[in-house]
């Protein structure tokens, strides 16, 4: 990654605390223009917290979020507000992220009212109608209220609202998790089309590993508030190097044969989100079948194990044989 200067977003050592609990514990990564980065990990691993901290919807305890060279975390309110035009988010629950008393057309128009106040009403209505059609809804749908439309349609509205300003970064926080399998494909394809047309960079959070595999250029795996593995999807899914990634892949219920090398019966015990506060060592060690003595004393750094493949594991250079744990 010689083009480090071109990174659109550079997150450095970001840390978010909720009281004594550290939800995000020093995350660094970069996002380039037009790139899609998938972010996976179990509930409580800090994915959503990281997303919100990047947009400064949450207060970070430490670190920086450089957006085109400027730190968003220390930006003055007016500056932050101006930048937010380019930073949009689509939330998981489409219904609760829309105001129940606002017509969906008005919800899509709101970013325009805020960021393009000079626009006359007719032009604004034209842009909203065009956006509705872009997301596959009839322009006449704009007069409806959120409760009058289906979950899939609500999510299309959420996407239309996020995309109407042609943002440079779109964060999608589990955008399809509450939707049916058959609608999921439609919504994801819509996101991909919009991204291609507008050149938007995307941070795509999901616990659906198969979806992330198909649409990401790079995938970040989070565990207990830290990034434990970064790789291109082909490398990550064919040869995961972190034991947690291996276990995560093995947990996907498959109706097809599992990918080669995925341990068949690697059991993950109850996710220890609260295990995010180990004093020292690797947070995963207690669930890890490969743990050594060093894992309890030293936190493994995120290091490059192969070109473009970063792993935070003391044993990342060994060829770990898939183990199955005793039941």
């Amino acid at each position: 990654m010689n083009a480090a200067a071109d990174a659109l977003l550079r997150v450095k050592d970001l840390r978010v605390d909720f009281g004594a609990h550290a939800a995000v514990r020093g995350v660094s990564f970069e996002l380039f223009e037009g790139e899609t980065v998938g972010l996976v990990g179990e509930s409580g691993s800090g994915k959503s917290t990281l997303a919100r901290a990047i947009l400064r919807l949450l207060r970070s305890a430490h670190g920086s979020v450089e957006w085109r060279g400027k730190d968003l975390l220390t930006a003055a309110p007016a500056e932050l507000r101006a930048q937010r035009r380019d930073l949009q988010i689509v939330f998981q629950d489409p219904l609760s992220s829309l105001d129940p008393r606002m017509r969906v057309g008005d919800a899509i128009a709101e970013p325009l009212r805020v960021f393009e106040p000079g626009l006359d009403a007719r032009e604004r209505a034209r842009r909203v109608a065009a956006m509705l059609e872009r997301v596959g809804l009839a322009a006449a749908m704009g007069v409806r209220y959120p409760h009058e439309i289906s979950g899939g349609q609500c999510q299309r509205i959420g996407i239309a609202r996020a995309m109407i300003l042609n943002p440079k970064l779109l964060i999608c926080d589990e955008p399809v998790s509450s939707l049916d399998m058959s609608i999921q494909g439609q919504i994801i394809n819509l996101l991909l089309d919009l991204q291609r047309d507008a050149g938007t960079a995307m941070l795509f959070i999901s616990h659906n590993l198969a979806v992330v595999r198909h649409l990401s250029h790079r995938v970040l795996v989070m565990y207990a508030g830290k990034v434990v593995e970064i790789a291109a999807p082909d490398a990550l899914f064919a040869s995961p190097r972190h034991p947690y990634t291996m276990a995560l892949l093995a947990a996907v219920p498959a109706i097809e044969p599992k990918p080669k090398g995925a341990p068949a019966a690697l059991r993950l015990e109850e996710p220890a989100a609260s295990a995010g506060a180990p004093g020292s060592g690797c947070a995963y060690r207690e669930r890890c079948p490969y743990a050594l003595a060093v894992c309890a004393s030293t936190v493994p750094p995120l290091a490059q194990a192969a070109t473009g493949h970063w792993v935070a594991c003391h044993r990342s250079h060994e060829a770990l044989i898939p183990l199955s744990l005793p039941a």
């Binding site: 179990e42 509930s43 409580g44 596959g136 809804l137 009839a138 006449a140 749908m141 439309i149 289906s150 979950g151 899939g152 349609q153 049916d180 399998m181 058959s182 609608i183 999921q184 494909g185 439609q186 994801i188 394809n189 991909l192 616990h207 659906n208 590993l209 198969a210 979806v211 595999r213 198909h214 649409l215 999807p233 082909d234 899914f237 276990a247 995560l248 892949l249 093995a250 947990a251 996907v252 219920p253 498959a254 109706i255 097809e256 044969p257 599992k258 990918p259 080669k260 059991r267 993950l268 015990e269 109850e270 996710p271 989100a273």
Partner: protein, 304 residues
């Protein structure tokens, strides 16, 4: 052999603006003792309503016809006293969201023990001990301490284990699990699927697994029923369904599952259009077995 659950020609409709919305139209199915049947279908296909009718949990405005027999006795015409003897003991249900299906202000132990006090006439002390045993059985660590905790003190996966334990307290003949893992992430989901499998092997109850996630159903079910627009459109042994789906809708749905192996795709396969609205003519018309999962309507007019 008397089937555990036998449903004949079940129709459910809800009145709306003077018209009747047909949610389920003529569903017949049979579940044998100890059988595990998966029900798959999109939201709105009627899969939950069929079993809510069996449990007597439909909204009071629903109009129901047909018959639902549980171990030979008709449930639709049964009065509440009879229903209450069956529900929660021999016929139990696990819901999607364990946070809202457990009472937030009662200890886990109270909620579990209450089932045994009501259904088996146990003393609270015995019931409390049995509750601890069932928690151990569903692999909740430190069950005695957990009994004194409230639902919010447990993680989502632990809460769902408590729900599964509750459904098993009276040694049921049939457990209906409605999207039991949809609210949970993939690692917890894998544990719970494993738990349901183990419980079925130990206790031998029949299990209905309702889900829109084919992967969840594939690992557990002996037989799978596919629902679309209020009807069962395909019924087949699990292995058969995944290898040789006969109905075009099933075949299209199987194609929509993104895979963990093979070439990566620039676009995900997706079903075109949306299911017909129950209020539209398409829903009421006989199912038209066209290609590509018709009768889906174009995306543009999506339920409008």
């Amino acid at each position: 052999m008397v089937p555990t659950l036998s449903i004949q020609d079940l129709c459910i409709s809800f009145p709306r603006r003077g018209a009747a919305i047909q949610a389920v139209q003529g569903v017949s199915l049979c579940i044998a003792p100890s059988e595990c049947v998966g029900i798959i279908g999109e939201s709105g296909s009627g899969k939950t309503q069929v079993f809510m009718a069996a449990m007597g949990l439909l909204a009071s405005s629903a109009a129901v016809s047909g018959s639902v027999r549980f171990e030979g006795g008709d449930l639709l015409t049964a009065d509440t006293a009879v229903l209450n003897r069956v529900r929660g003991s021999k016929l139990t249900m696990i819901f999607q969201d364990p946070m809202t299906s457990l009472a937030p202000h009662l200890k886990i132990g109270t909620q579990l023990a209450e089932v045994l006090v009501c259904h088996s006439g146990m003393s609270w002390r015995d019931a409390w001990n049995s509750a601890a045993r069932i928690l151990a059985r569903v692999r909740v660590p430190d069950p005695k301490r957990r009994l004194h905790q409230y639902p919010h003190q447990l993680s989502g996966g632990m809460r769902q284990r408590v729900m599964i334990g509750m459904s098993l307290l009276c040694e049921p003949s049939l457990v209906i699990a409605d999207e039991p893992t949809s609210a949970l992430d993939v690692t917890v989901q894998a544990q719970l699927i494993e738990l349901l499998r183990a419980m079925r092997a130990e206790l031998g109850m029949a299990l209905v697994l309702i889900s829109h996630d084919l992967g969840v159903v594939a690992g557990l079910a002996d037989r799978i029923l596919v629902m679309y627009a209020g009807r069962i459109v395909e019924s087949a042994p699990a292995v058969e369904l995944f290898s040789h789906a006969r109905h075009p809708y099933t075949a299209e749905m199987l194609k929509c599952i993104p895979s963990l192996s093979g070439p990566r795709l620039a676009r995900l396969p997706a079903l075109a259009g949306s299911p017909p609205s129950p209020a539209s003519g398409l829903w009421a018309a006989p199912l038209h077995r066209g290609v590509h999962g018709s009768p889906r309507v174009a995306a543009q007019s999506d339920r409008s």
